[in-house]
């Protein structure tokens, strides 16, 4: 990757003011028709999510396709899927920052936002998938009056709670700190806006005051920048292990169990690789849409997209390696139950899900070997979506295929998702995209300050 840095300059070549104008334009103008349509679609899906959720609260989890061997279905699949998506953001902003990958600057803001929203979407599922959601607060360890009852620290579900909440908080702080210089920029730019109407002026004032508060009195002095840079470095260092820990712990939900197909030591690295894989695919999807809709081709260049394509190629191969290893381990295990589960994945009633996963995750990233393909927007876009379909099916294969045929053949059964399962899946995208669409309208979707700083550095480098 270092070779790319030298050969291809990331220089934008625009005056700073123009960069400001370009990036902050969606925030300072009335939303376009495209945005409105997208928002309405997303909000409707979110509405469906809310309705189905309410219905399930009143009626019971029986409305979903769950049954005795398969006690976890779409909810947990969606949970793992969204947590996985939520990996790329912090990886881009923290790990790539530490590795001085300059190309990250254009995409880190949106990627981090995606992380936050994906983790929020994911976190909803474990809370609502319980049988008695009105008691879900019992899983939080806080001093209470419920006698000696306390959470069970041996339960991986509890570890999940800590892992995800820690990750969420750190990601949120990181994201917010990154936003502070841009908020200050917005605050300053807002001074030129005047409204003719009273109400408009009032709204403008609210916006101004809010921005003043959340930009924490940023003045942009050299000293401020000095402190700021240090803090970002420290936060990056703190966030880096979290990128690895979250999905490791999520994988413990499965790995520490006794169910064949779940009980595997390969799960932590396999899950992390898968998470980055799907996360980058999602970033790619969003970036391609964003640069087209908001005309940000100058900032999110083909270079960025190509790099992300390469990350997908690498992580895709890691995931493929993990799949292969699972089969090798099963074959080598001399355990009939273990072998059966993998045979069942290949040939059982859910074999189609396995082959969908295989095609999407193992075959599709190899198109990225070819420069022509990985610099073609359409190909990139399709592959980014295909990868996420594949990654959703990977979780389906893990959760459903392992559970539906475990130890006692007498208990084997099928899991057939109901309308409500699909509604919640679609609804979760509604939740995510509603938040994301609101984000692109109210926050700078590209880190303006960082882009400008890089631009300055590039300029200096070229002058020398």
């Amino acid at each position: 990757m270092s070779a790319m840095e030298n050969t291809n300059s990331l220089r934008i070549g625009k005056p700073y003011a123009e960069i400001d104008n370009d990036i902050l334009k969606p925030l300072e103008t009335f939303p376009t028709k495209t945005w409105w349509i997208a928002f309405l679609v997303a909000a409707s899906a979110l509405g469906m999510f809310g309705i189905v959720l309410t219905y399930s609260f009143f009626k019971g989890l029986g409305i979903f396709g769950l049954n005795n061997p398969v006690s976890w279905g779409f909810y947990i699949i969606n949970f793992v899927f969204w947590v996985g998506i939520g990996h790329a953001g912090t990886l881009i902003s923290a790990i790539l920052y530490l590795f001085r990958q300059k190309w990250r600057t254009s995409i880190n803001r949106a990627a981090e936002a995606m992380t936050i929203f994906a983790v929020m979407t994911a976190a909803v599922f474990p809370l609502i998938h319980v049988g008695r959601p009105w008691f879900v607060y019992w899983i939080f360890p806080y001093p209470n009056e419920r006698g000696p009852l306390w959470v069970n620290f041996r339960s991986p579900l509890l570890w999940d709670l800590f892992a995800i909440s820690t990750y969420f908080i750190i990601s949120l702080v990181f994201w917010y700190m990154g936003l502070v210089p841009d908020f200050a920029n917005m605050r300053d730019r807002l001074e030129r806006f005047k409204s003719k109407t009273k109400i408009g002026q009032l709204l403008l004032d609210v916006k101004k005051i809010t921005l003043r508060v959340i930009s924490l009195g940023w003045v942009g002095s050299a000293k401020t920048w000095h402190h700021y840079e240090k803090m970002v470095l420290i936060l990056s260092a703190l966030a880096t292990p979290l990128v690895l820990s979250v999905h490791t712990i999520v994988s413990f939900d499965f790995a520490t169990s006794v169910i064949p197909g779940w009980h595997a030591t390969i799960f932590p690295p396999y899950f992390v690789a898968g998470a980055i894989y799907s996360g980058f695919a999602m970033v790619l999807t969003l970036m391609i849409i964003m640069r087209n809709v908001f005309k940000m081709e100058a900032y999110i260049t083909m270079k960025h997209l190509e790099n992300m394509g390469l990350v997908i190629l690498v992580t895709g191969m890691m995931v493929s390696f993990a799949y292969t290893m699972e089969f090798v381990m099963a074959a080598y295990s001399a355990s009939h139950n273990e072998q059966y589960v993998f045979l069942n994945r290949l040939t059982g009633p859910y074999a189609w899900a396995f082959w969908v996963m295989f095609t999407c995750n193992v075959v599709s990233p190899h198109f990225m070997w070819f420069k022509k393909l990985r610099t073609n927007i359409t190909v990139l876009f399709i592959i980014s979506i295909v990868v996420n379909i594949g990654m959703w099916f990977e979780r389906f294969v893990i959760v459903v295929t392992s559970l539906h045929r475990d130890y006692l053949p007498s208990s084997w059964d099928m899991y057939i998702p109901t309308f409500y399962d699909y509604a919640m899946l679609i609804g979760s995208f509604g939740l995510f995209f509603t938040m994301f669409l609101l984000f692109v309208r109210s926050f700078p979707a590209i880190a303006v300050a960082e882009v400008k700083a890089d631009e300055a550095n590039e300029e200096l480098a070229q002058h020398h």
């Binding site: 989890l61 769950l66 005795n68 398969v70 959601p133 130890y407 006692l408 053949p409």
Partner: protein, 1038 residues
Amino acid sequence: MSAIIDKGKESMAQKKSQRNHKKNSASIWRSAEEIISPESIAADTQLWNDGREFPASVQELIDRAQNANLNRKSFLTLMGASLSLAGVSCMKAPVEKIVPYVERPIGHIPGKPVYYATARVTADAVTPVLVKTREGKPIKIEGHEDHPLYRGAVSADTLATIWDLYDPDRLKTAFIKEGNTFKEAKTEEVLAAVAKKLTGTVRILAKASFSPSERKALAELAKATKAKVVTYDAIGALAEIVAGDEASYGSNVVPAYRIDKADFILAIENDFLGTWLSPELFTRQFASRRNPDKGDMNRLVVVESNMTLTGSNADSRLTIHAGSHGTLALALANLLLPGSPLAGDAAVRNTVSGYTPAVAAAVTGLTEEQIVALAEELKANKGKSLVLGGGTSSKDARPGSLQIAVNLLNSILGNEGQTISTKAALKKTNDLSDAKAMGDLLEELNSGKVDVLIIDRANPVYELPGLGMADAIRKAKTIIYLGYHKNDTAVEAHYLLPVSHYLESWGDAESYGYYYVVQPAIRELFDTRSAGDILLALAGSKQKFSDIVRQSAKSYIKGDFETAFTRALSMGYVVVETEGSSPARKFRSAALANVIAPKEALSGYRVSLYRSVAIGDGSGANISFRQELPDPISKMTWDNYVAVSVADAKANTWKMGDVLRLKTAKATLELPLFIQPGLRKGSLAVAIGYGQTNIGQVAAGVGRNAYELAIAHNGVLQYSAIPVTVEQTSNREKLATTQKHYELGVKRGLVRIATLEDYRKNPRAGHEHEEVPHPGPDGKSKAKGLYTPHKYTGNRWNLNVDLTKCTGCSACVISCYSENNIPVVGKDDVLMGREMSWLRIDRYYSYQTEEAEKADPDMVSPDVFFQPVMCQHCENAPCENVCPVGATGHSDDGLNYMSYNRCIGTRYCANNCPYKVRRFNYFEYWDGKLRDPQQFSLNPDVTVRSRGVIEKCSFCQQRISEKRQAAKVEGRELKDGEIKTACQQSCPADAITFGNIHDSGSQISAKTQEPRTYKILAQLNVEPAVSYQVRIKNQGKA
């Protein structure tokens, strides 16, 4: 009130106000007094609703509101009323009084169960039971352990009678038909009214009864009304025996089958462990001789065309073509005749001589060698064997057909008098079922001669469609129906008289050398009467039925009556005749003319009707627990189906759930098919008891009525091998089975079967697929766990199931439902795979060798293996550490407990349970779902679980606590065997042992140390507390 009206413009009120103004000769009024006068008020109200300001009733209020010419005033009035009514809801909730016992009944301790001994009487048998009552309400049926014959044996069907008592669809009061609808009426009044109507030609249609007192009452009614009593029994299990015995021996008793005395049992088309006569008693007797470790092991060979519970428990099961049972029996007789006491009987010889092994092989589908070998085995067990035959699916066109052939075999073998005894037999069987009288009655009905038809607890319209019963009955002028439900027959009646449940009424019964007093455990819940009382009242007798019972008892009870009667009440039975061998009856060869035994192979499809273990004859079908009890073999719930052989399914490419159309000459029936291993090509089977149109909310419309396929031969119904044509329809139905897979059972070490021979050579036989947990680092010790092991200070509970004894009869399953308040979920949720049973019985098909499996691609004779699976109460329970809120944990006596209140329902435990015994409440199954009086059937000692929590077997924790507390109060240690789990208590096979393994002298300790013991999935190192004993099959010398 007039103050506001001057603002009105065109209303009536305005005109009135103008009038008032004029009267006061002022256009502007100054005070209320000026305008309000008595006249003005009168005018006011006159204007409104004919002078009545306030409506007389709520209905009038509503009417007024709806019809009101809503002017402003009425609108405001209604608004005001609505507002004030809205405030009414803030009133205090109505006080619900809970009244404690101010004066406690003597001897009654709240919270302590009281048991009553009584007996459940069916058309086939009498079962002694104990009724557990709490605070005066019966909550559970238990086996009567002190009964010398039954020793606690009780069937699933009998256990389910507790719900019959609380069936909300029961007849709760009398009904009188008016036009096409029934009108409720007081039973007392209807009885009096009906008693006057019993004039003209009266006929009584009744089911057979074991009760001497009911017979007396019936006789009294017959005498008073000059009625003829016709008894019939559509199933006819007992009637077949009587018909056969009458023909072959000239005796009309149903002999005592001494299964426990037989070393070798041959059952021909006979389901004595599942549905025939008293399956619970036979199971007890049969299982008492299944002790391979003690060297006491009987051998059971079953010859049958359908896969029954008995067949699945056979040591050797020979599958024959439907309808060939007679042939096989006579072929065996032919082989055994030389050298037997009947060898000299030319008539016998002539009859059987045509049935050579070759002929029989061609008809039955077996090989000649199999038939000869079977005969050899019978020969070797002369006098110690027992041949059983008969039952629903062998009911031929001639009464007692198979029974006669079986009698011949038993007489040849010298079993008559030994394993079949007329001592302690069922006597007085004249009135069991009378096909001729039934034919006469039909004729009389059809010719319109019958004025009054009294139907006593029979359901002929449903059971006898082949006889045209419904049309015939309608010709009677008055029909009086006595029964429990508004069933298919009852809806044709003019008067319905509600009969009390046996737990509410007095009664008695005599069977197999015992006299039983049926005593009520609770007063009638509704306006019902015992059948005896109704019969007496109709007869115009002033006697109480309980007095008749006492009178009847006098002839059975010796010594001082009052003391002895009280003792009989507390014991529930009186021994009349002790069992033993009897002189052999002499076989009459003339009877053989009645045996139906084809000599040529039968062609085409032949369907046999059978009774299922859960639903039986269908009279108890309205109990959802019976409907949801999986069939022991097919594991089907909530439906009947046509069982087809694997060979037929392959040949026609039928799939499970395809709907087939079965056609006889008279009837057509469409049923989904179920591919059932253990059938030969051409054999089909359908369960009766389903497809009732009227009975109650639960059973109405479930399944199809298979009685329609029965063929009537002069009033005799043929259920066996009815020739049908089969067409596949384009429809498919979903089959609600609770178990869909049976493969891999052997390979995974779940199914462990060994032959007796192998077991004798190697007591560890059967454990070939045993897998052990990964050892510790030294290669020997156990792998060390992550967490500190549990410490057990006192007791540690373990449970063992002896799979050699277990027959899969499912009594434990129903007992568990009843004890632990387990909900039924209904067909839709069973289809989803959400049945709630804490204890399920896994059924596997297997073969002893791979060669045997390959040799039988059509699965004609697989081994069937039953394995009851409940929570295994693992030492290292995988469910315990995954619960984020610690709702499931480990007690210091080795129980894996569930605290429902703490459970939030993550279902992680259910996923991580390798045995999949944890059940989740996907919906609310209890609260608001119970129909009065179902709530009384709940066990107050067990929490009723709400929606969203996991539940599972608790080893009947409440029963452990009960006994532990009792021991503590008495200041002693718990005795071994004192605690019995519900499943163990009801197990007719005595297959379940429960106890403390820390007590080295306990039965459970002995059991778990036997070489046959194994634990399923032991390789996971979860260390279950439930162990199983290898199933030993006695393959005999053959």
